[in-house]
């Protein structure tokens, strides 16, 4: 039997509240500890209990940043998971289920899929339940814990079948349930896991064609996009986040809240998103590096204040985690449909910066760089991410996260020493060649700081006169020219003279990268142009690369090809080929490669 080593996908599914997410997260961490690369995709519904959720874990010996549509091991915690995902299980793959799960095994064997029936509930009861009873847990607690330990058993069977050494499973269990109070629960889970692991290994291991082999490596981080953005912001000295909970943005503030004491960060949950952005503006006005985070619905409420920050030249960072729209849309699904919104949000014309990270390293960098941009240009900066990137986890080498990737740049911020020697009246909106007005913070005795949402004189007094209007408008817009010089050109991977160029932005980096490798392996000459810094738009690099591209495909998670619209608006270059997906699900690498083959290459 041919055995595939270190290239396997597991999928754990069940109702919300059944524990597929925490089991998946633990399993992911175990693989990372074993030195493997992991990409974990979370998929959940907008409900607390019931429905259908899953956690998909792809394991590899190379750094992967997307899912693969084939599943080798399905771990259904309920019947619905089998119904929803059996078609994804590849021939030779396995479905690990409780002996009692009411599914006709014939449906599996017809597809060449192995039914792996293990008395999971019985093992959980026998091995774990007794430990809990001996530790004097109340019967309802025992019953509830046994129910969750069925997941532990299922994961352990999968580990046993694929040869992941048991120590990694035990380590994660002990960490998750560590502590004095949890000792018995940890012991119970370990006992359950061990018995299930042994059964999986003994009964089904020899016959299973996918194996996992630990690799000696430095420990890897397991992190998702929102955590990476939050960590980047914290590293940049962000000390304020005001927000209103909204999926998929909330975990940015939750991570900061969890570290708020350690880092001295104020996290303020507000009555609505209007307050959230305005409090951040108020805080930023005093000199604090401040941000807010939201999704499209929240940004719709914030829009007026975005212009306020621009007009008063207040540095502001806004994280926008996109989800399916319009309106409430698909609250827990992914989409890249707010690029045009962010580009045009708020009335009038003003400079703005838009960053769209597409890897975890880029998420961290965006969280960090955004504050330098905001303070340097005294204007709103957006970080555009999406549901997929917010929740998907990946194993990353810690070295890839440099906690000070560039110096902290506060722009033209006047220090106390500068102000001590100030003799002239301070002009908050002074006309300067660069467009940047040196910023004094309110509180120093030599500087009265006045600003307004009205058009203003240099001293912050409202003005309606034409000449000053033009001077101030030109001054603000000069900052955009300067910011354009700080924007990185799009990333080009693959041969310069490729016959086909795949173009994307933000979170589609992983799947496009993977699709390119798949197509390349077939002998195709393909390259990949990816935008992480979107606005001010890197015009020259785009004209140079796309202007000479033989054939280019625009790939986006939206209906209207919003990046293609930006490219056309700025450069006049139009895309003949587009691959657009707006079903709320991220692309997988193989799916995208197939679409390129079918949709574009077939039409040569």
């Amino acid at each position: 039997m041919a055995v595939v080593v270190n290239n396997v996908t597991f999928k754990i599914g069940g109702e919300a509240g059944q524990g597929s997410e925490s089991s998946g997260a633990g399993f992911t961490k175990a693989f990372a500890r074993a030195g493997l690369f992991v990409y974990g995709l979370q998929d959940y519904m907008s409900r607390i209990r019931g429905g259908h959720n899953f956690f998909q874990i792809r394991v590899s010996d190379r750094d992967i940043q997307a899912t693969d549509s084939g599943v080798q091991v399905l771990l259904p915690l309920d019947i619905q998971t089998v119904e929803a995902h059996l078609h994804e299980v590849v021939p030779g793959g396995a479905v690990i289920m409780d002996a009692a799960l009411k599914i006709d095994d014939g449906r599996l064997t017809d597809r060449g899929v192995k039914p792996i029936r293990v008395p999971l509930t019985e093992i959980a009861q026998r091995e774990g339940g007794n430990i809990l009873i001996a530790a004097d847990f109340a019967p309802p607690t025992v019953a509830a814990t046994v129910k969750l330990m069925v997941n532990t058993a299922a994961v352990a069977v999968a580990a046993g079948m694929t040869d992941l050494p048991f120590e990694y499973i035990e380590q994660i269990i002990r960490e998750n349930f560590g502590g004095k109070k949890g000792a018995a629960i940890a012991d119970a889970n370990v006992a359950v896991a061990r018995a299930a692991y042994e059964e999986g290994s003994r009964e089904f291991g020899a016959d299973f064609g996918w194996k996992v082999k630990p690799i000696l490596s430095n420990p890897r981080m397991v992190i998702n996009g929102n955590q990476a953005i939050a960590f980047g912001a914290a590293a940049a000295g962000c000390r304020w986040i005001s927000m209103y909970p909204m999926t998929p943005a909330t975990t940015v503030s939750e991570w900061l809240a969890a570290h708020s004491r350690k880092l001295g960060i104020v996290v303020k949950q507000c009555e609505d998103e209007i307050t959230a952005i305005l409090m951040a503006i108020g805080a930023a006005h005093t000199g604090v590096r401040a941000m807010t985070s939201t999704s499209g619905g929240g940004l719709s409420l914030m829009v007026e204040a975005v212009g306020l920050a621009a007009m008063t030249e207040t540095p502001l960072v806004v994280v926008l985690a996109q989800r399916g729209g319009p309106s409430t849309g698909l609250p827990t699904r992914t989409e890249q449909s707010d690029l045009q919104f962010v580009l045009h949000a708020s009335q009038g014309e003003f400079p703005r910066v838009i960053l769209a990270p597409g890897t975890l390293e880029e998420c961290f960098l965006a969280g960090y760089r955004a504050f330098n941009f905001a303070e340097k240009y005294q204007t709103p900066v957006f970080i555009l991410t999406d549901m997929n990137q917010s929740t998907a986890v990946r194993a990353v080498d810690p070295e890839r996260f440099n906690v000070r990737p560039e110096p902290i740049d506060r722009g033209e911020l006047l220090t106390d020493a500068d102000l001590d020697v100030l003799t002239e009246p301070y002009l908050r909106h002074k006309i300067t060649p660069s467009g940047i007005s040196p910023r004094a913070l309110p509180g120093h005795k030599n500087a009265v700081v006045l600003t307004t949402s009205d058009e203003h004189y240099e001293n912050g007094q409202a003005v309606e006169e034409a000449e000053m209007r033009v001077l101030q408008m030109d001054k603000r817009m000069r900052k955009a020219d300067m910011a354009a010089r700080d924007i990185r050109p799009p990333l080009l991977e693959g041969p310069q003279d490729a016959e086909l160029t795949l173009v994307g932005w933000g979170s589609t980096y992983g799947p496009i990268h993977e699709a390119r490798l798949l197509l390349e392996a077939e002998g195709l000459h393909v390259n990949h142009l990816h935008y992480f810094d979107i606005w001010p738009f890197p015009k020259e690099a785009t004209e140079r690369i796309l202007g000479s591209a033989r054939r280019a495909i625009d790939i986006e998670n939206n209906y209207t090809a919003q990046l293609a619209l930006v490219i056309r608006m700025v450069t006049g270059i139009d895309f003949k080929h587009k691959i657009l997906k707006y079903d709320g699900r991220p692309f997988s690498g193989d799916e995208l490669a197939q679409k390129v083959r079918e949709g574009v290459l077939a039409r040569v």
Binding site: M221, A234, L278, A283
Partner: protein, 289 residues
């Protein structure tokens, strides 16, 4: 040593001649000087409207924000730099209409700031539409058959909303008003001053004379105890023939929001370094492993 002259600037106010806002401006300047505050010790945050133009007409730190949105900007600034004395200026439309949600939630937060509402019971700057505090039946360009809603009672609303200092002033009695502003700024926590302010152009009903006939000072009754919620509630309901002015309710026992944020105990947030210690960040990184 402060002085009222320090707050003068050369700006010519665009208010109508005879507008109540002039008296409010003078009272605010007097109060600041009396509290020995300098123009750079304070931050005046306003919304949009006639009253919200006040920060333009005096020398002091100012942030003129959006219509209805002064309170959250002020709260953010106060929490980020609690050394600043923050005073918010809004009108009845700005503060009780479009900004109503902020009003409600700022009161329960109790940040140490003073909220001055220049309440003229009409929209002035947009030229005479009825406002949330216009009385029922008020005729205006957008209510030609009379306003249908009952008017907002800001005093009762503030008491129900948990405000720790609730007061009412009268623009045409600056002597009383300026003392009231001093009391409000001295109050530790959120303080509301609803100011009856005649709009000489668009409100021909609630005129200076109309108010003058009705207002009476709570200070004149030595037995009145603003710490007694029930007694204050009776005053809050009073409107019509007699309108009380002065401190209606005051609760000094409530801690401010900023006092309860652990991150602010060792000084203002804005004074903290943006350079987090590298070893702390490295340690946090390892939490992900």
């Amino acid at each position: 040593m402060s002085d009222i002259k320090l707050f003068n600037n050369d700006e010519k106010a665009t208010w109508c001649v005879g507008c109540g806002d002039f008296g409010i401006l003078a009272s605010v300047q007097w109060a600041f000087a009396n509290l020995d505050l300098l123009p750079t010790d304070v931050l005046l945050v306003s919304g949009i409207g006639c009253g919200s133009k006040l920060p333009y007409y005096m020398k002091a730190n100012g942030y003129d924000s959006l219509h209805g949105r002064a309170l959250p900007v002020a709260t953010g600034a106060k929490l980020a730099n609690h050394d600043l004395r923050v005073v918010v200026f809004s009108g009845d439309g700005d503060g009780y209409g479009i900004g109503g949600n902020h009003f409600m939630h700022t009161m329960r937060r109790n940040p140490d700031l003073t909220h001055i509402v220049e309440n003229n019971q009409v929209y002035g700057l947009t030229k005479g539409q009825y406002s949330p505090t216009s009385q029922k039946g008020f005729l205006s360009t957008t209510s030609p058959e009379g306003a249908i809603e009952v008017q907002v009672n800001p005093i009762a609303l503030a008491m129900a909303g948990g405000a720790s200092f609730v007061s009412r002033g009268f623009a045409n009695d600056p002597r009383h008003l300026r003392e009231l502003i001093v009391k409000a700024i001295n109050h530790k926590g959120y303080s509301l001053i609803d100011i009856l302010q005649p709009c000489i152009t668009y409100n021909k009903v609630n005129t200076g004379a109309w108010y003058k006939e009705r207002v009476y000072k709570l200070d004149d009754d030595p037995s009145y105890n603003a710490g007694d919620f029930d007694a204050a509630w009776d005053k809050a309901k009073e409107w019509g023939d007699r309108i009380p002015i002065g401190v209606i309710f005051q609760d000094d026992s409530r801690p401010t929001y900023e006092e309860q944020v652990s991150q602010l105990r060792d000084g203002p947030l804005c004074r903290k370094s943006v350079e987090q210690p590298i070893d702390l960040l490295e340690a946090i990184k390892l939490e992900f492993v």
